[in-house]
Symmetry: C3
Subunit: 341 residues, 3 copies
């Protein structure tokens, strides 16, 4: 939220070595192509070094091996992308509401709201809720009975927490997300489906980010559990009793079925699907849109799906997919016949 | 919502045979692993019989063939999972709001709200709406003009019903769901897309459950129709003029394109896609993430997709998918050549 | 919103030739099967000409070549589907709120709201927002600081615009959509993920429709940009810094990863996935559920995936997918062996 920061100060905050004018003032972050005077850009990889030519950036974050390519002010660091991430927080001017409970919110008198927390207009806070210091609850949010939100957490506008949802500290949840809805549990009765009431809750650790429109169901008996440091993108679906280990990343539209267990430091790329009741060990990466149908006990990268091509060509190959077993058997017969000759 | 129930009473309510102390009091449901004294667990399948050893459960629901494995109180029934489902409703302590219209809601004076219904804070109920006995409309819900909600239905917080949406009785809709938004209909004009106004509505039967973030569009001319007893999980997308037959189940992230017809007692597993204008007969099951591109006239199970493997191995096979037609043709040539020799 | 329109007037408005009674009054649109007297139906394609037999429609929109099939009133035009689209707007009776700011909304005094705009109950409009003439902001919407909405735009109930989102004119956004949430950007730090604050915004052109539950993230540095005339269905996910060209169509559940560029006049069918940083030229069509992993430089239709079949048969073929590279190599060996003989 700074208006401007000197390069001397930036070098200190980003733990980078300054080559240039320590009093030079930076007002904003930008890309190498768009940056002008007073703006800070970054070169995340030597592969983009050509963009150094012609940039008008007031200063650049770059790696020691790339300094020769730029004559102006430089902040030199072994990990320019990480330094950029840190700098991004310094120049974030997103509005931050002031503490206090908005007069147009509906807060149960038994709720415990820390004095430094902000409750936005038209938020509804039910009985028994506890909200920690420096929290920001956005307009239109619903926080159900007995839910607990640790300090420095933020719910953007129109986030829904059902009853009995426990959030750690520094958790950020984007608009439209729903935490604690009923898991999809039904038994087969004589006249149709019989609902299994979902009696568990949801526990979310510290430093978790949850994207817009993401849904996390409450557990059937025990809790659905999201570890600390987990990052979750938009429109992710997490079913009841799933466990996600610390520091795992779930990209947009990932879907995890009931009771699946995802280890720590896993990366599920966009649109990955995980069937119910399987377990992925720590350190598993799954590439975009792949579907995991069995447990994985060895760290590494996993994939499914087919490559794309022009539709006419794809169709010819796709038809053959439906003949694959016959093709393979025919090949085996040919092979055997060849061997007999 | 009971505080505790005797085993005598439970046996009666669950239609099970009690073997043990009729006066023993049960306070909660739990799993075999987690249950302690005063808690009821269940053994849904003999495959998990090993969990009977060492359980501290105060009583167990199990099948006649499994009674030998446990010395304590038993509720014996031919379908333990169904009995567990019924028991779950007895021990559901989710908060239930009291009847009445919250002073911070906005209800049009022409709306007819049953006296036993509950309208939460910051809900908006438009003109001509009718809401039946024992309904609960959660905080922040929007119910558009002339929509009708049958008795004993519940909208959790921030559910959206557009105008002209008809819900049956005992319908439950979770947060963030949207019912009655415009179908995606456009004609090609000279200067781009020309919107086809969506003049139909949405009809939903009795005993339907709809998950968080699910969207059901209104019809273009006629209605989109969801039968009675249908269960729909989170983030399901149902396009305009779709029909879903009674007692079908749609798991998370299923997507059904316009005018498709799903029969009765169908089960679409997580992430299944159905293209527009096809028809699935009664009793079709589709496995997770499969894509159905043609009508299905015979009950049974259907699938598409490829198995997953380590990425390096998958890549070798995926490349070959793009050569499949050539591979099949080469094999045929070889076969013919072999036959000529 | 007309109560009824004469065929004379309809012929003029739809630019069609009237064959029949100019004074005949039409009260509603319907399908050929359902239409009765006083209702207008349409025949979009000669393929459905059999439905002309037995229809009770008061008048029919059809092409010159199909007039012989129907004896009643006809509106004849070269493009009946387009004429139907235009007629649909004439008979749309969806409720339209009156101008003015509802007393139960929360509007910052610095916001500039055009006098002809309508702000619904429980909407929250933050400081610095500008809302144009004839706009309708639905109940429970959130419009964040400094966002701008052009004239004649409509946000249905519970739409979320974060700060700094710019909408053109005649933009329609359905319930539950979220525009301007944080892009999913994180750097790898020593102790886990380090958030990259998302400092860009979102720009949306004129005449754009956005479906229920769709999410469009703000840019990391520059803006995420949606061109004019773009139509977007429900539950679409558009990541940070994506560009979508004018008049492209994105059907339900499409997901586009960060910094991807979609050209003009592209059509992405339901559930299509686009990986990050690729570029699709103008005029690309992608069939349902296909996954695009590389840039496409030539207009045309593209696909991936496998056909569906009964599960037992699919399983046999799917297993062979995992052996494809070995199968292809075996075939090559056989071929070489055959050639040597």
């Amino acid at each position: 939220m700074a208006r401007s920061i000197t390069l001397r100060e930036l070098a200190r905050l980003l733990d980078a070595e300054l080559q240039g004018d320590p009093a030079y003032e930076i007002k904003a972050l930008s890309t190498l192509q768009d940056a002008g005077p007073g703006e800070l850009a970054f070169l995340a990889s030597s592969a983009y070094r050509r963009h150094l030519t012609g940039t008008r950036a007031g200063a650049i974050i770059l790696a020691p091996g790339d300094t020769a390519g730029f004559a102006g002010n430089k902040l030199v660091t072994g990990n320019p992308y990480l330094a950029y991430a840190r700098a991004s927080g310094l120049f974030d001017r997103a509005p931050m509401p002031s503490p206090g409970i908005h007069s147009a919110s509906v807060v149960d008198e038994s709720a415990e709201i820390a004095p430094s927390a902000s409750i936005g207009p038209l938020a509804v806070i039910e009985a028994g809720v506890r909200i920690g210091e420096q929290c920001v609850i956005g307009p239109g949010c619903f926080v159900g009975r007995d839910s607990v939100i640790g300090s420095h957490s933020r719910l953007f506008a129109n986030v829904n927490l059902y009853h009995g949802v426990i959030l750690g500290s520094r958790v950020r949840i984007h608009s439209g997300a729903v935490i604690g809805s009923d898991g999809f549990g039904f038994a087969t009765g004589n006249d149709g489906w019989v609902k299994i009431h979902q009696l568990g809750g949801v526990e979310i650790g510290d430093d978790v980010e949850i994207g817009a429109g993401t849904t996390i169901d409450r557990g059937a008996l025990g809790n659905t559990v999201i570890g600390s440091g987990v990052i979750i993108d938009n429109q992710v679906q997490i079913a009841h009793n799933v466990k996600v280990g610390d520091n795992s990343a779930l990209a947009g539209c990932v879907a995890i079925a009931g009771s699946a267990v995802i280890g720590r430091n896993c990366v599920l790329a966009g649109g990955v699907g995980i069937v119910g009741h399987v377990e992925l060990c720590d350190g598993v990466t799954v590439t975009a849109r792949s579907m995991i149908t069995k447990s994985i006990a060895r760290p590494g990268s996993y994939s499914s799906g087919t490559p794309f091509s022009e539709t006419a060509e794809w169709r010819r190959n796709a038809v053959r997919f439906g003949q694959l077993d016959r093709i393979a058997q025919k090949l085996s017969r040919l092979d055997r016949r060849g061997n007999k000759k």
